[in-house]
Symmetry: C2
Amino acid sequence: MTLSNLKNQYNDYIKLNGLKSSKRRDLIFENIVKKIGHFTTDDIYSDLLKTDPVIGIATVYRTIRLLVDSGILVEHTFGEKRGFFEINNQQAPEHGHLICLKCGHITEFYSKTIEKNVKFMQKQHNYKINSYKFEIFGICPKCQKSEK
Amino acid sequence: MTLSNLKNQYNDYIKLNGLKSSKRRDLIFENIVKKIGHFTTDDIYSDLLKTDPVIGIATVYRTIRLLVDSGILVEHTFGEKRGFFEINNQQAPEHGHLICLKCGHITEFYSKTIEKNVKFMQKQHNYKINSYKFEIFGICPKCQKSEK
DNA sequence: ATTAATTTTGATAATCACTATCATTATTAA
DNA sequence: TTAATAATGATAGTGATTATCAAAATTAAT
Ligand SMILES: [Mn+2]
Ligand SMILES: [Mn+2]
Ligand SMILES: [Zn+2]
Ligand SMILES: [Zn+2]
């Protein structure tokens, strides 16, 4: 997913849904699009506060929801009861996550096997599949060392 | 997992942690152990209210947490930001879930391939694995029909 | 540019699922 | 029995998120 692709996707979504463009929303979009890895709404809010001290957190929540609805972001929970987000790279195949129960560190992995398995389940259960999540919980190598 | 196995596991956990036995907790345990499929804390609370109108929801939350800690229950989120629980059948291998985005219906599936994949990831990333979740989101056959 | 219609925004109240606190009650070992 | 400790229910508090609403911004049509 290139930046200009995402920008097009963003602008198209706004047009297609009869929304108006706005400075604040653009600012949030620009910030998010620069992020690598996974982030929370609060991460983005804190970032933006530095250059825009009057931005409201509701606007950040709203815009992130919009970006999820438009397919630009995907949401995860990673076993917690709050949202984690990341850019939805529609080029690459979906990926799984290894989540460290100690430090929260997240490692991504790709697997053709999983892809196949999802397709198999789709057929077997007559499901129209939208997305999937494969999350493995455990202790990362670093935390294993520091455990002793 | 037989009922008596679970009861042993429950009693052992209570002894091992220096807890006292109690009528209320036993009642909650008995109710949960009869459940099939996935349930929320509120499901259990509503059930119990019928025969025990003074039970507090805090006690249900506490007991379910205890049962998760003891390994009797496993918790899921199924893409939502609240807990769903089910009996942890330690005999059977872990299973995945197909979740209908329309009606919320959940279908379980087993897959040796996934098991192998998890072991592979464990080796490849030097992780000490605790558990995993494989969730596929889509539209179930029933809802596909009623969509037209 | 001015207006009018509509959307966006920030403040903040409300909600939802859950955890913490605490005085009262129950359990248990002595 | 008593004494120590755990369990309980009521309820306050929390954290993440959504809803509400008046004011400000955007847009399209004059
Ligand atoms: Mn990821
Ligand atoms: Mn299940
Ligand atoms: Zn770690
Ligand atoms: Zn369905």
